[in-house]
Symmetry: D2
Subunit: 327 residues, 4 copies
């Protein structure tokens, strides 16, 4: 039985997935995509970085784009519940011989840099500089009117190992996919801390790699509108999958690729998951409505392509099982 | 019986209400309202005029704002079906001793200036300069994403006379309000040429005056969004009534006032009326769902205030009956 | 130059596409689809027919499903402007040696049965029994909340011939697709009478056959909802294409198949076309955004399959040119 | 300074507001309102009770309507994180001389009945019978397509005391209203456990009384639709306030009254509040956009009327300050 009961008292308290840092080759081109097209707000811009947030976010940034020689993911950011939790986290990672350092990170308070058991780079902190909420500055809502970051989704070579690691840290399973093997094996998991379907998800694949990060919009019409905008303003080729409705999570979604190929999901309409006794929903790999309730299979690129974590070696996936792919 | 069968072969063919010309005191302030806030497109701007259109309109303008010493409505514009219709219109108005002239009008072809029997200034034409449709330039859709002009709505001192005048010209009645008198009297009429609820409407009141012009949006969420935008960007006091659902026309609506007090209705979700045998819908003046299906009465200003037509004397209304007014 | 100016004074006046009659094998199964799933209203049911309408329609029916041994389309219905137009229509078709008869048709007044030059069966009438509008009986709006029939779309073996036939009858071209031949040839046309993008469309193909009929909803969310409903209530396999945005017409669409394979388009958000000088929009066959603004190609079935007209022989299409088809 | 930092380690862990129990006089009439009109799902019905839930809820009930001689609120239900928390809760309330009992409650596991310091009846539990989620049974989504219970809102005679009581239990403040006194006094508070604006809110007034309970819909169009449904199916008089946008919480709302006068808020579009360092938003009582961003004042009934808790004596409010009321 690969699925476990939730850990209600974890060694330290993660509040939610809070930000991501990506390497990009051309900041001006990234700005055209993220700000001018998608409508994210630029909290700050420097010669080598662009700090973005959604309209309801008071944290200084939820997306950091940093000039780099090539595309890479450099940090998955999680907010902790307090400064104490930060110290407990450092102790916990140290005790497991995982890297522990406290570099200076602009606009953030004390920040722990570490990595999970599979090598994914993590950034844990409690305090970040605050910016004014723009939720009620409606004239500033542009493009997809993105409200906030929602989740991080990664390829892992070992879903069971990634699941176990984060389950220990109090991430709770909401939905999962199993293979048809006997016994069944975990092929994908959706896990949360903040009370909706996920803060963090893992899919079997060459990894660890970032599959995508998700941003939340208030409704499906915001997502249809950004389809129309992208399709008619030079970003048609950056639309990868959707719009559609996921069977898993019930989300209405659109997957787009930024100018460096980083994948972003526009995401809305999942459900509340705060109840500790919420029964995780099980899907089988060959259920055609798992991917898309309306039956559309995902394109091959969606299963194959992802963003590597800077300096983290890749491993072949543990499972050979294959999902349904569009021809 | 004040209501008549439709005239299918009118003396000349009006296609639709096509534009309005208004006097405004401060073009920069008007631009801030119509373009920056409501999101209308500026086709052209001169020292003394601003030419606006909605995103699907290929006509050069549907709203002309002209610098003036005070607020006024200077023309109600209607498009005819052909140049021949223009000549037949001139003959028809001339035969009734109504004014007939063909002034030069920028961006329009041959244009007949005339007036109806109650003095309302009319501008009839067939050809106008064309601008590229922006319907599939979605990145240019801003504010309320207004698609086109929909209708003109006026106070008249004599609803029956205004109704008879335009019924003769082939305007068809779709909905109307009667008093509870015996016999009942026409208190308001909604008449169309283009196939939805109205191109032109009249309400009993001190007149002739422009009550408002209506612009069409694709859905109710566009109207809710402009409420949010206006309420949080300095235009709160310009929101006069709504949002709500009219009983009459079934429209989802919002009434706003421009910086000169001209009233604009944002309007969507009425119905198709092209069938010549469509039975007009009758409402009584005291039906509380006539104004607003959800029961909210209109404010007093909505019944009292309007834009005078430049140089056209006002007359007291024929009927003393009063609608339901919010305290 | 295959495209012609509009005929403003046609030999008789067609108002709009008004209804369709289809043969179906199992009325109970059809009722489950059209009424219980899509939410159309059943005005009447007999042992061998089901009469349906949308929520704003006061005509007794816009869809007639008649029990038959196999799927077939038996009539394309058009409303005329008056009884006089009906007589003029009979004379016009008779003078061209096209069939003319006046059978009794339930719930309709005098009805002319005829056929166009390519053999498509037509039903022209002026008066139909009326039913109460359900537009403001919102509790009765179910499923896709379909408001009305919008258009009829057919395969024709000779697009130019079909275009010419209906252009003579006053149908106006709004959009069209040409081949890349020199000279270019008409591959598809969209033509209207009622003032939006189309009442009638033709595409090159084995024909004449009905490709689909379109029904209109007030917004895209009604279409997303019916996707969710169909996908989770046993009708997943009946979803053929979409949802998506057409380049042509700008419509937001979904194509579904009824239990007999008849295709229905759920359709919204096109634009007003009443101006007689509206310039038709030209598309080329290989433009990938012609079919779907967002780039999704249509499936092969969408190009190949259609409903035959009962007793009407099929002809191979005149043009061999091929659109972009999903692999 | 009446506002305090959040308590991250409360004496026992409340997960969220989970249900409400109300006395109603006529279950059939209540069923017509809650099920047939609003579209809530009836999990179970007995001779003297109706158990309701929203489409995403797997808990057996979030609204319990129990036959009674007169309207009353009999329990505010909160879910705890574990059975241990239930024991800790019983000890905590007992130590404060507040009532403690464990009655049998149908469909719920062990349930603690108690009351807060001002006398409001509370029902705390961990386990409830589960029902299948209907979130992806879209054909069952009717009326307002309500997804879940969101919050409980009460009048209290002493906002500061109520705030202090629940702040001790780990409820975190998100927004609040102060009087213009020096020093300012708390006039209303919005507090949460589950991560959005509130699970529980208090307003100064004759109390304790239930002001309303809130249910969550996925979008504003669901709320506009229920306005249309109520207004045209015999429930017009039950629409009390809105639709509109609250300044506080940013919610799009509608307030309706059930057949017994119990008030329900249809609520959507607030924001994520899980960050422990989220700064509460302060409003002043005289800010006209506090109540409604668009400027509409609430009616007098909205400030005066509420549901009494069965057997709980009322006290006059501590503050005399008055909000803006519609004339």
């Amino acid at each position: 039985m690969p699925v476990r009961p939730p850990v209600l008292d974890p060694p330290f308290r993660i509040v939610r997935a809070s930000h991501i840092e990506l390497g990009v080759r051309d900041l001006a081109r990234s700005r055209a995509f993220y700000v001018d097209c998608l409508g994210l707000l630029a909290t700050n811009e420097t010669a080598d970085a662009l700090y973005l947030r959604g309209v309801e976010e008071r944290n200084h940034h939820s997306i950091v784009l940093r000039k780099a020689r090539g595309p890479a993911a450099t940090a998955l950011g999680f907010k902790l519940a307090s400064e104490d939790d930060l110290d407990r986290a450092a102790a916990w990672f140290g005790a497991r011989n995982l890297p522990v350092s406290f570099p200076e990170v602009p606009y953030q308070g004390r920040t722990l840099r570490t990595a999970d058991a599979l090598g994914m780079p993590l950034e844990l902190y409690f305090k970040m500089d605050q910016a004014p909420s723009m939720l009620q500055r409606y004239a500033a809502h542009q493009g997809a009117r993105i409200q906030r970051i929602d989740h991080l989704n990664c390829f892992t070579p070992d879903v069971q190992a990634s699941y176990d690691f984060y389950a220990d840290l109090g991430f709770r399973l909401t939905e999962y996919t199993e293979t048809e093997d006997t016994p069944a094996k975990l092929w994908a998991v959706w896990m949360h801390r903040k009370g909706n379907v996920h803060d963090l998800a893992f899919t079997n694949g060459l990894g660890p790699r970032l599959h995508h990060f998700g941003v939340w919009t208030a409704g499906a019409l915001d997502i249809l509108h950004i389809c129309d905008v992208m399709a008619t303003s030079g970003w048609l080729a950056n639309m990868e999958r959707g719009p559609g409705r996921h069977g898993i999570s019930n989300a209405f979604f659109l997957y787009v690729r930024d100018p460096d190929g980083h994948r972003i999901e526009l995401f809305t309409s999942d459900y509340l998951t705060v109840d500790p006794d919420l029964e995780p929903i099980r899907w089988t790999l060959r259920d055609p409505q798992r991917q898309t309730l309306w039956g559309h299979p995902a394109p091959k690129s969606w299963f194959d392509e992802g963003t590597e974590f800077a300096g983290v070696p890749l491993r072949e996936p543990a499972l050979a099982a294959q999902p349904i792919v569009a021809r």
